[in-house]
Amino acid sequence: MPEQFIWGMEVFLNGLMAGVLYALVALGFVLIFKASGIFNFAQGVLALFAALTLVGIMEGQVPFSHLINAVFGTEVHHFGWTVPALGALLLTMVVMVALAWAVNQFIFRHLVGQEPIILFMATIGLAYFLEGFGDMMWGSDIKKLDVGLPQGINGMIDEVTYNIFGYGFFIDNLDLWATLVAALLVIALVIFAQYSKHGRAMRAVADDHQAALSVGISLKFIWVMVWSLAGFVALVAGIMWGTKSGVQFSLSLIALKALPVLMLGGFTSIPGAIVGGLIIGVGEKLFEFTIGAPYLGGATEIWFAYVLALVFLVFRPQGLFGEKIIERV
């Protein structure tokens, strides 16, 4: 087997893994969009905020310590304890639910029935607010996140591929875990949305507020639930990205990579977010490997996703799995 082909396969697999991480962010977008018609620009920051909170709680950091110290002239930074990962996860989730409640109570409750563009602008505002709030609450230094997920080269895959091809593939354990978690998350979310009372209520609210009220659905409850779910997905994405590259404020920028993923997969499809993420992940890695690096001077990964999304917008604006745009005349 030619070397180029074997390397190509390794690139392909790594592309899949990278795609899963994109998909995790895109998933949060799809959830909010499906249930409220809001394109949530703050999803990336939500992931950052979740990761910051998780690290902060695990390390026993005092929230708002800079603010407290500046106002009261004290010198507190840490409580002096650490919280085990599982407990910290649960506490972080409590924070995310509280945040969901606050977002609904103070922002979106007052914007019911407004144009989508206004709701979108509100999420941009929310993104900047959360970024500043996260900074104030937990500090702006880059933090290391370790919830006990295995990291580093997967020995088994390395060995098996070495025996077959005479060349060991480098696949990161963390990426494998991310894939597994993403798969479980998607299956759970699809089942929840399609076959449960609250999932159905969620879709109903997205479709028609008045009709939803008339069958006894509380809009407030559903919205808080949806933002909590988005917070949960953000937490998962935050853990994966944070473990991989440290919890830092550039994490909020990964939200931008989710946009082409959504254009490919469709804004309303949970499986679409996954497939879109995988296509982008594999596409940009393979393009870089086959054309980008040899002929175009490299660094094509930065723009490849956006060009692919543009092509899709021209030929299939609803994405691969998006709801067909039906209009009766």
């Binding site: 929840f192 009372k197 159905r200 009709a211 008339s214 069958v215 006894g216 039906i326």
Partner: protein, 273 residues
Amino acid sequence: MNDMTPDGYTTEDGRKIGAVVMEMRHITLRFGGVVAIQDISFDIREGEIRAIIGPNGAGKSSMLNVISGFYHPQEGEVWYKGARRPTMKPYEVAQQGIARTFQNIALFEGMTVLDNVMTGRIRQMSAGLFSQAIWKGRAEREEVENREVVEKIIDFLEIQHIRKTPVGRLPYGLKKRVELARALAAEPSILLLDEPMAGMNVEEKEDMSRFILDVNDEFGTTIALIEHDMGVVMDLSDRVVVMDYGKKIGDGTPDEVRQNQAVIDAYLGVAHD
């Protein structure tokens, strides 16, 4: 109406009508300076088909919206099952067992017929968020049980052939029927129908009339409906409230209402001196 008692009465075709389930007492509803409903009182009895009729702009839809909690009257009281109802949000009213349809149809267009009707069962499904999230035991059993009820209603209203079709693709007449199915799925104490025959052709109107009668007959559902087409209503209903310019001008059996001079004037017009 022959022997009207507090416990009920017997209709001309021999159906037993029960006690008062809902009572509107001196309802007045204003939008700024416009009085949409002025001091209207009437009751709805268990098992009857009660119609609210009147010309366009009479305030019928406003009255229905008061009953279903979408509007809150400035004056008057709503009594439901023997107790005064506090000011409630529409979804709370729905949870109390009052289901409705809309004049302009409010369905979940992107969802299938089956899913639309299933949303009507929300009140009957009590499994918590957590047990649903892990989809086991009670939540699963509940889903199956409710699915059976829904399939029965779908059969009853003869919409089996479009069960899996997204509602957005259906023609108008079928959408109206799906909306009725969704309301019915809630097994409501009172079913409110807002112009169920609006925009239908004669054949569709006949179908809808048959379904309304069948629903009342088969499930004993109490139905309150709004129509401005006199003919259809007179054939369907047991008792009729007539509204004009926000006021009640008649109340009684179709025959009584037909002979009421004020009603005749409102419908045929009257020369003012």
